[in-house]
Symmetry: none
Subunit: 537 residues, 2 copies
């Protein structure tokens, strides 16, 4: 039996300290659900004492009955007051989270310089705050800030702080390398010492300032830590936190520990890319395990060797983490993925070998052009339906024009459009708060007389990403659009060198998808279903 480890994700808290990482409450909810599906044990959602966005997040998530323990973050109480008077601790209890992480000082230098209080008062702050949180019905975790620097400067005091946390009933005592400057051999030595001296479960929290956060986490586990804190893709302040996307597979596939199930580990690449999309951060192609180039082979000798046996140049089989081998330009989402996706939609592709090959070739080609279907299920569904059913277009757009005019401070945007719906040409014009909004308004204005349900459909998110960064506004862009009709939510994608064209493509997919489900609801069989290509021929 392999030793089980406890995985603690702080993407939603420490991760958002990273430069350029900013998540709405809605983003956080989506990521929390994904982390829960991955099998993460603790999900730290934010700091309810510091902002109202996090309070809203906790309110929404606690009703979702996650498998993971929902965790709120805060500090030990302020100096020289009672816990009952500390507003932040009050917010922590009120968050409704099951667990609370309290960060406290263990480095004497910080107690003097940053807190500007006495060593004794700091110990009291640790003990009383953890006990207060425990009494409030929450599981209490102690984040021992700057523990390694503290231990090197004054080991007795650093250990005394941990001892206080243990006495107050901390469920986990987590040793933090807050400044990220500690080396793996130091981590190993100090964690071993703590494990032998402090009779409590020990965790590790590292930062990547020396590009050693992953190595330091692994060294701590080898030395006896049983709880690892980190973030998806290593997001976090300065150089980031320990990257769970690298730590999880190494622990589980190479070191014999068990963290999540094998099937959950296969979700890893998807989770990494999903979180990157939500955070609107470019996932580096060379990111270990989950990057698009992690198993990509460029050199001719390498390619000929992997074609003989892929373990010649691959340290693990990429499918263990849900990634895939890439040779030349084949970006493909494996045939089996596509087939199971089609099955999910009730489309029978398997029986028609030719069409299934065709659609896979088409997807490969589109992915090569920069499309990313992982964040755009609705576009993928349309593509598969088109291939399976030979869908007719409900509408065709004959032409459009957009005029933007700015003078004397005001800016006006209008879209003029000619579209054909069921043989009839409609000519419309609409204003908008930008070119895409104007296009959206004009298109829906034209369609609403035929499909009144389209009135409820609206876009909820719109993201633009430059694909080739060499020459930004003239480079290719990928647009992701998220839409809702108040019941369902779906995402679509468009790619073009022109941002309007890419947006338009994603917008048309969104509306086409809306029409699909509308007709599904209103006309259960026959009639317009055929027109929409829902019936396989």
């Amino acid at each position: 039996m392999s030793t089980p480890l406890c995985i603690f994700d702080t993407t939603l808290r420490d991760g958002t300290q990273g430069e350029g990482i900013s998540l709405t409450a809605e983003d956080k909810v989506k990521i929390a659900l994904k982390l829960d599906a991955l099998g993460i044990h603790y999900i730290e959602g934010g700091n309810p004492g510091s902002n109202s966005k996090d309070i809203e997040f906790f309110k929404r998530v606690r009703e979702m009955k996650l498998q993971a323990k929902l965790t709120a973050f805060g500090s030990t109480r302020r100096k020289n007051i009672a816990c009952e008077q500390d507003v932040n601790l009050k917010h922590l209890i009120e968050s409704g989270a099951q667990a609370a992480t309290l960060v406290g000082k263990t480095w004497d230098f910080h107690v003097h310089t940053a807190l500007q209080t006495t060593l004794e008062e700091n110990l009291a702050m640790i003990y009383e705050s953890l006990a207060f949180v425990n009494r409030g019905g929450m599981e209490a975790l102690f984040d021992a800030e700057h523990f390694f620097d503290g231990y090197k400067a004054n080991p007795e005091y650093a250990l005394a702080a941990l001892q206080k946390a243990k006495e107050a009933g901390a469920a986990w005592i987590v040793l933090c390398d807050t400044n990220g400057g500690t080396l793996p051999n130091e981590i190993a030595e100090i964690v071993s010492r703590v494990v032998s001296v402090i009779d409590a479960p020990i965790g590790i929290h590292t930062h990547n300032d020396c590009e050693l956060a992953v190595a330091n986490s692994l060294a701590a586990v080898t030395a006896g830590a049983r709880h690892i804190q980190g973030t998806i893709n290593g997001y976090g302040e300065r150089c980031g936190n320990a990257n769970l996307c690298s730590i999880l597979p190494t622990l589980q596939l190479k070191m014999g520990y068990s963290c999540v199930s094998d099937d959950q580990l296969k979700m890893l690449t998807n989770v990494a890319r999903y979180v990157g999309e939500i955070a609107n951060v470019h996932l580096p192609v060379n990111q270990p395990y989950v990057g698009n180039a992690a198993f990509a082979h460029k050199g001719g000798i390498h390619v000929s060797a992997i074609m003989k046996d892929s373990k010649t140049y691959e340290h693990i089989s990429p499918d263990l983490v849900g990634n895939k081998q890439r040779v030349l330009v084949s970006e493909l989402a494996g045939q089996s993925n596509i087939l199971s996706k089609a099955q999910e939609m009730g489309l029978d592709m398997q029986s028609d070998g030719l069409k299934s090959r065709e659609v896979i070739d088409r997807i490969k080609e589109l992915e090569h052009q920069g499309y990313l279907f992982e964040g755009a299920d609705a576009s993928l569904e349309l593509l598969l339906r088109d291939a399976a059913g030979g869908a007719k277009q409900v509408f065709t757009v004959d032409s459009f024009k957009i005029n933007v005019e700015k003078s004397s401070g005001t800016l006006n945007t209008e879209a003029i459009m000619k579209i054909t719906v069921g043989g009839e040409q409609v000519y419309t014009v609409a204003e908008g708060n930008g070119p895409v909004n104007a296009l959206d308004n004009a298109l829906r204005k034209a369609l609403v007389q035929f499909y009144p349900g389209i009135r409820d459909v609206h876009l909820t998110d719109y993201k633009v990403r430059v694909l080739d960064e060499k020459d930004a506004t003239a480079a290719k862009v990928r647009v992701l659009i998220e839409s809702t009709d108040f019941k369902d939510t779906w995402s679509t994608v468009g790619v073009s060198s022109n941002v309007i064209e890419a947006s338009w493509e994603a917008l048309v997919d969104s509306i086409r998808y809306a029409l699909l489900s509308m007709v599904k609801d209103e006309i259960p069989s026959g009639g317009r279903r055929e027109e929409l290509g829902l019936i396989n021929h």
Copy 2:
């Protein structure tokens, strides 16, 4: 005295195996000069046997009298032929490089599967090839490919291969973790064993497939390796090679080894960014030691602590590697962040209490509206300069129009603009691959006659984010633009309910910022500086 180590850079060879990395001979020459200035001991320039670009590179560089040893890369001879018949070995000798790295097999599985020859023939290939290169007047290095996998599978054979290399006179025997799957404790154990068994100088070459390349290199040095191979910014196949930008400072500042001089180490940030620019690859902001965010502080508590003593949240002083501390301005942060930011720019806000309060209120108000200055240093700098100096506008835009027209498949976008520069009205029109590109082109077309340097300025990244997701295309959007003039990189922000307006705002800030630094360079005092608001009144 600290132990000296030998640093071997393979950015120009293994680095170019990375996805998206492609260097011309001219690029390679520029990078080689930079690496030489940094004090790198061996510069591996390429594989003269594989392409003519590398032959040209060697020809140009060998006349430059570098301090570093110029090194060419190749393989051991092909099976069953004499070295004299091997074209690649011949090219190696003819390259004129002082040293040659020969890669050879040490993993029996690879000898059988990839080479498809006998174990004995492979040993002969190693011995004869290294001896041949030595006879050709070059220093010979042996890259023991897949050494760690080979050692784990068949230690006797792996060591026998090294022994052959030693007997042939290899100057360095370099143990390669080619697939990047080995863990630090395995590296430490195996390197120790090699050092005790093989009487030759030992080197290390690691890959980052487990995010452990840096840790593995350090572990090898601790175990007795004295030569480290890596690349600038960790460029390389799949997940990249060991990142010298992280290894150098850790070895030198934290582990007591000596690699380069202290002054050379101070060039590190500049070298990393320079190589990134030449390779046309975005340097991750969170890259350890050299990234723009490596010493950036966001949380208010962290900021107030570093203002008391920067070692509270910094593991080293950033100037040791030529980087600098940055304070990120965000909602979470208070007045102290703004003041230290102004100080960084040489603006004296502290003495003028009223203005500093005013500007902080203004920033808060803007952040409340959705501006995010932590990713937009240039916009923040303009804001502070405007407040401090009452800057005049270099240009004003009187009006603009954008026309987008799509018919019969093609989409055309043009921007028409009236702007006033120095009292003169300019009327321009330009096309673009989208509205923002068209605006950018039109604006720069109007300005270039007054400020020719504006020709070099171009956008390198463009991000759109919807702030209130309830109603996307009609909601507020935030646009972040990153620009460069080949020397500096800066970011600007715009927020509006209209995406064109938000983009325009970020674009104007970008151009205004470019004009600031341009005028700084060209007219050291007086003149246009005043016009640009650079002189405080």
